[in-house]
């Protein structure tokens, strides 16, 4: 799923920094695989948002695929 972007308008803000989230590139890892993806995050402290649609969707698919490798 490297190169994927999960950027979408979101009402969530960082509670600590009181800032709206902006797109950022992060590395996700699972079972020795690394994926560089775009997620929404706090521009100051980096607090990330993993939306439910991603966790229960694409992320779960990739996890299960890797588990059977």
């Amino acid at each position: 799923m490297s190169g994927y972007s999960f950027i979408e308008a979101t009402p969530w803000q960082c509670a600590g920094c009181r800032l709206p989230l902006t797109p950022t590139t992060v590395s996700l890892t699972y079972l020795n695989s690394v994926f560089n993806v775009e997620l929404m995050a706090c521009p100051r402290c980096g607090m990330l948002l993993v939306p439910e649609s991603l966790a229960a969707g694409r992320m779960l698919e990739v996890e299960q695929l890797l588990e059977d490798k």
Binding site: G16, M47, L48, A55
Partner: protein
């Protein structure tokens, strides 16, 4: 598993054995598929089956003397199928559908002397194989003694048709030949092999054909000579199918002879053979053969369809008929083991069978049912062990269940004490983790009863027998758990164990044989049950044995005896006792494959229309979760004071089960062994307000309320969370061990309202690190 083990395992499954009719057919016509085609009204499909195996279906299909018919399984429940009449009807109503291919021409010359059906068959088979065949007969046409049959039995045009077919495969026909002794000698001299059809060629013409051919190869003592056909061994009967059988057998021998390979090797499955097929006919209604309205004309299409519909399509599948797992994956043991073998052989690529291997409940029902005791559960379990060992076990398959086991074995839940006021135990009550999780009050009431009735001290031990680790293929973890258990009971002076759970009992029996063990049910059956308080349900209940009590017969008898003493009206269903289904918990099926786990519970509960009575806490809760009314036997022996109907108790779910175990220890320490209670971690103080819908969501997503508390606690401690200014909800993620949990919550004065929760295993760079 190596190739040899694979073959040995495959060989024990008989689903692919020949059906009885096919095994009894000298040329192995697939009668079962033929009947299926007819029964479905698909004449072309039926004809295709004949074309594939029968030489000259127009002739053989009309005249076969059906040696298979006495072996038809239908004959044991009514009349055997009218196989020959149905073949005749099919051939009469259809044109050829299938034309078998001709292989490229090869060397080797064969003379077939005599044009009877065996000679025709030999010529056809060898012609198809690309051999140069010349058929020589003194007769005007083909057919030998069949030429004298009346037109009503065999239309005249069948023979010219057969001649055209043979020529189509390159066979040279020499009809009305002058077959003298000299001519035959010439044929022998000029061909590599010669087949004598004894339907036409007598010993006076060919002295060397007078010798009896070898029954296996039909080879004559004279080099390159072969003979068959004609009358049977008793020289009195003429069998059409014998002609075909001999022609085909001789053709195969000649083919081998020309290839210069063994004429005899591996021919035991040729011709009439034995079969290990196992078909259960219990419960099938008897039926008589259908007599055609006009016997002279034979079956009409509709009549043929009706008669063929009586075929029971012999197969085994006895295990599949009962097993929700094999049904789900559309496998029988032979195909299952092949898939497992292939999955294990993958070095690079996707192991598509992982989930299948982890979905078996390991319950052992199939092995009991199987006529050859095929150990599918042991195969799946040892494969899981290999997967763990090789690092190929998907972490998500069993993580949740193993965490649950880990919790049951943690300081929060475990306990091992002598009876209060004593320093030694003659007995030790071991309720097991699931009864403690399902109904902690029942554990307390049962313990108080045992402690009051038994002499010599009754200790109590809370923990887990380790069976989840065994099921998950985690052998080192399982061994460690057993060692700890043995040390604990040794510390208590090795008292006699009283186990409430059949799974614990099966594990201790197998791995802790030094311990003295008695099941709670046998113990209760030997004691005077509490009087006055017991309350039999006002309705008939169906008793559900757990799968792990499959081999615990005395235990099962005690349960029934107790039910009798309580005045309960119990009915049994077919899949009980040694044939009991699993509720979905066994083998951790419901964790590796939640959907299938649900189906298993539904199937078990659905075996009877009555409400259920279980004596395994997991069965009780899973059957309740599948929407059925079901009680636990202890609910009636030690009823609760509030008079709540035990049949109406809902499934506690994973979170409640967790809490129940921890609370049980707390309550016992408070009431029976007063001492400092175990310190609860801080996050446990967080009050959650969760709706039924969100609770169900948490349960289905394997998220515990304690995980939710940990996320909120972490968010409060670090101040790292997201907020939605629109509705004031907060969202935080935290990874306590391996899984990252996200919780959407809303702080209120009464506690935290939980709106949503989800999880993932993929690691983030920051959250919770």
């Amino acid at each position: 598993m190596d190739q040899l083990q694979l073959r040995a395992f495959e060989n024990r499954c008989i689903q692919e054995e020949l059906p009885f009719c096919t095994a009894a057919c000298p040329i192995h016509v697939d009668v079962r598929a033929f009947m299926a085609g007819l029964a479905e009204g698909n004449l072309r499909e039926a004809r295709k089956v004949l074309d594939r195996t029968m030489p000259f279906p127009e002739i053989v299909g009309r005249l076969c003397d059906e040696p298979c018919r006495p072996f038809c399984k239908r004959g044991e429940i009514g009349d055997p199928l009218a196989i020959s009449m149905l073949e005749r009807a099919c051939v009469g109503m259809t044109a050829p559908v299938l034309k078998l291919p001709k292989l490229p021409a090869k060397g080797g010359t064969v003379a077939v002397v005599g044009g009877g059906l065996s000679g025709m068959t030999a010529a056809l088979d060898l012609g198809r194989k690309g051999r140069k065949v010349t058929l020589v007969t003194a007769a005007e046409g083909l057919g030998g003694s069949l030429r004298s049959l009346p037109e009503t039995m065999l239309p005249r045009e069948a023979f010219p048709q057969a001649a055209a077919l043979l020529e189509g495969y390159g066979v040279t026909l020499m009809l009305a030949a002058d077959l003298t002794v000299e001519r035959i000698a010439d044929l022998i001299a000029t061909h590599d092999a010669v087949y004598f059809d004894r339907d036409e060629i007598g010993p006076q013409l060919v002295p060397q054909a007078a010798a009896q051919p070898d029954p296996l190869t039909l080879a004559l003592p004279a080099e390159g000579g072969f003979a068959g056909g004609g009358l049977g061994e008793d020289s009195s009967s003429f069998s059409v199918i014998k002609q075909v059988k001999d022609g085909r057998r001789a053709a195969l021998t000649i083919e081998r002879y020309l290839q210069k390979v063994s004429l005899t090797a591996q021919r035991d499955k040729e011709g009439v053979c034995t079969t290990r097929m196992h078909t259960v006919i219990t419960g099938m209604a008897s039926s008589a053969v259908l007599i055609p309205a006009d016997p002279a004309l034979g079956y009409t299409t509709a009549e043929a369809q009706q008669e063929a519909g009586r075929c029971i399509r012999c197969e085994c599948l006895e295990c599949v008929k009962q097993c929700v797992y094999l049904q789900e994956y559309k496998e029988y043991p032979k195909t299952l083991v092949r898939k497992i073998y292939n999955n294990q052989a993958i070095v690079q690529g996707t192991r598509n069978a992982n989930r299948m291997i982890n979905s078996c409940s390991l319950c052992g029902q199939c092995t009991v049912i199987c006529p050859h005791d095929i150990p599918v559960p042991e195969l799946c379990r040892t494969t899981r062990q290999d997967m763990v060992h090789n690092g190929h076990m998907p972490p998500s398959a069993h993580d949740f269940a193993l965490e649950d086991m880990h919790f049951s074995l943690s300081e929060s839940c475990t306990l091992a004490r002598h009876q209060p006021g004593t320093s030694a135990s003659r007995f030790l009550f071991y309720p097991g983790c699931q009864l403690a999780g399902s109904s902690p009050e029942t554990v307390v009431r049962t313990y108080r009863f045992l402690a009051g009735r038994l002499q010599g001290g009754v200790g109590l031990m809370l923990g887990c027998c380790g069976i989840p680790a065994r099921w998950a293929g985690q052998e080192p973890l399982f061994a460690e758990t057993m060692d700890r258990f043995k040390a604990d009971i040794a510390r208590l002076g090795n008292p006699t164990l009283i186990t409430a759970c059949s799974s614990c009992l099966s594990i201790f029996d197998e791995f802790c044989s030094e311990a003295e063990i008695v099941s709670l049910w046998e113990m209760l059956d030997s004691l005077e049950l509490p009087t006055g308080k017991t309350q039999a349900p006002g309705e008939t209940l169906t008793l559900h044995d757990p799968c792990t009590a499959r081999h615990q017969e005395t235990l099962r008898l005690s349960v029934r005896s107790i039910c009798g003493k309580l005045g309960m009206h119990i009915v049994e269903h077919d899949c009980n006792g040694p044939l009991a289904d699993c509720c979905g918990y066994g083998g951790l099926m419901q964790f590796a494959n939640p959907q299938l786990g649900g189906k298993a519970a539904g199937m078990k509960a659905g075996r009877s229309e009555h409400a259920g009575l279980a004596y395994c806490a997991m069965c009780r809760d899973n059957l309740a979760a599948s929407g059925h009314r079901v009680a636990h036997l202890l609910d009636y022996i030690f009823p609760v004071a509030d008079g709540q109907n035990p049949l109406a108790r809902s499934n506690p779910g994973f979170s409640r089960r967790h809490e129940n175990r921890a609370r049980l220890k707390q309550d016992l320490l408070n009431s029976l062994w007063p001492e400092a209670a175990v310190l609860q971690p801080e996050h446990r103080q967080i009050t959650l307000l969760i709706s039924r819908e969100v609770l169900d969501l948490l349960n289905s997503r394997h998220i515990l309320e304690e995980d939710v508390q940990k996320v909120i606690h972490q968010a409060n401690q670090t101040g790292r969370y997201l907020v939605n200014p629109g509705n004031g909800h907060q969202l935080a993620g935290f990874k306590p061990v391996r899984v990252t949990y996200w919780v959407e919550f809303e702080p209120t004065s009464r506690g935290y309202v939980i709106h949503n929760a989800y999880s993932h295993r993929m690691l983030l760079p920051e959250v919770g690190q």
